[in-house]
Subunit: 199 residues, 2 copies
């Protein structure tokens, strides 16, 4: 018997469509929302509905923005001769949060993945190439350290040769705070390969 | 620098308020929603806003319903002489999904918890008592197998003595599909205590 009221079941179904949220988690979330004040739920519902309002891709770096040119591209204090190439807008946030990069970004909008039918033409590579005249001296490739990210990095590395810019890739190695004991073989192998001389 | 557009950050903040969803998960969910079709997000947003529309507590069992008397209380085919007492409306769903109970329910709306300042008077115990005249022969106490649930069960057990009904409690023991090896000591102790004679 369907004992859950319709509006409750409806929200459980909608939440279950999100990645990492199964029916049990969705149910727990919905019963939490039912106990919460109506105003708080309105804030959440409105935030979902207004999420894409005014959001577009920056014409320069292809990241998400709600102004004409994104805050980073339009910031005069940024270092204009280095571009960090990432897969997604959330990677910009991750690199930015590290506080160790003062240059510009370029968002590819994904990675090359033959399985998902994503080729180089589906990524923002043309717009990257068109930026390379503007005094850019170095391109840091910061795609994900997985199969698709590696394929994309390799493709970019070759595609950018004619532009005569320095091309670099983020370092591989042990993540800070982790235990050597729990690191996987490949990460340790890469950490040995990329070891740094101390003196 | 605040690189995340305002509407995006707003939804990240709202989602982070939900239990079990930290800022990282919220960010991942929001970037997923940004890639999804606008229509799908509208369905989700509307579902949140309409969640509590018409939802009220059933006058009889205190569970959630969108009709006058909940579907279970108003179902003539249900066994009217057994009441299963649970803490929350989601527990009704859990027991109902087991397919092994054909009686009625009563939702307490929580459990006795001195730490959170919840006493017996804050629970729907009065309404339960008022139902016990209507030919109810057995009360199955199905509060959670934790400290608060146990305290509540004990309180109910004593409070219901004057009503002269059979009172039972869900069995403790090994959960089906689990490994004896991984079961905790208390569960094993309870399983031994409540062991069933086979012949």
């Amino acid at each position: 018997m369907q004992v859950i009221p319709k509006s409750v079941q409806n929200l459980i179904d909608e939440l279950s469509k999100l990645p990492g949220i199964g029916p049990k988690t969705a149910q727990r979330l919905v019963f939490y929302l039912l106990k919460r004040k109506e105003e708080d739920n309105s804030l959440l519902g409105d935030a979902v509905l207004e999420l894409k309002n005014g959001i577009r891709y920056c014409a320069t770096c292809c990241s998400l923005t709600d102004i004409d040119e994104c805050k980073i591209c339009s910031d005069l204090r940024r270092d204009k001769d280095v571009v960090c190439v990432v897969e997604e807008p959330m990677d910009v946030v991750a690199v930015e949060n590290s506080g160790h990069f003062r240059g510009l970004y370029h968002v590819l909008g994904g990675a090359i993945s033959p399985i998902e039918g994503i080729g180089p033409d589906d990524l923002n590579i043309g717009t990257l190439a068109s930026r390379l005249g503007d005094g850019i001296k170095e391109v840091i490739i910061a795609t994900n350290p997985n199969l698709e990210g590696e394929a994309t990095a390799l493709y970019l590395q070759r595609a950018l040769i004619p532009f005569n810019v320095k091309i670099s890739r983020l370092a591989y190695g042990l993540p800070i705070g982790a235990d050597l004991e729990y690191a996987d073989e490949l990460t340790i192998a890469k950490a040995i390969e990329g070891r740094q001389e101390l003196f």
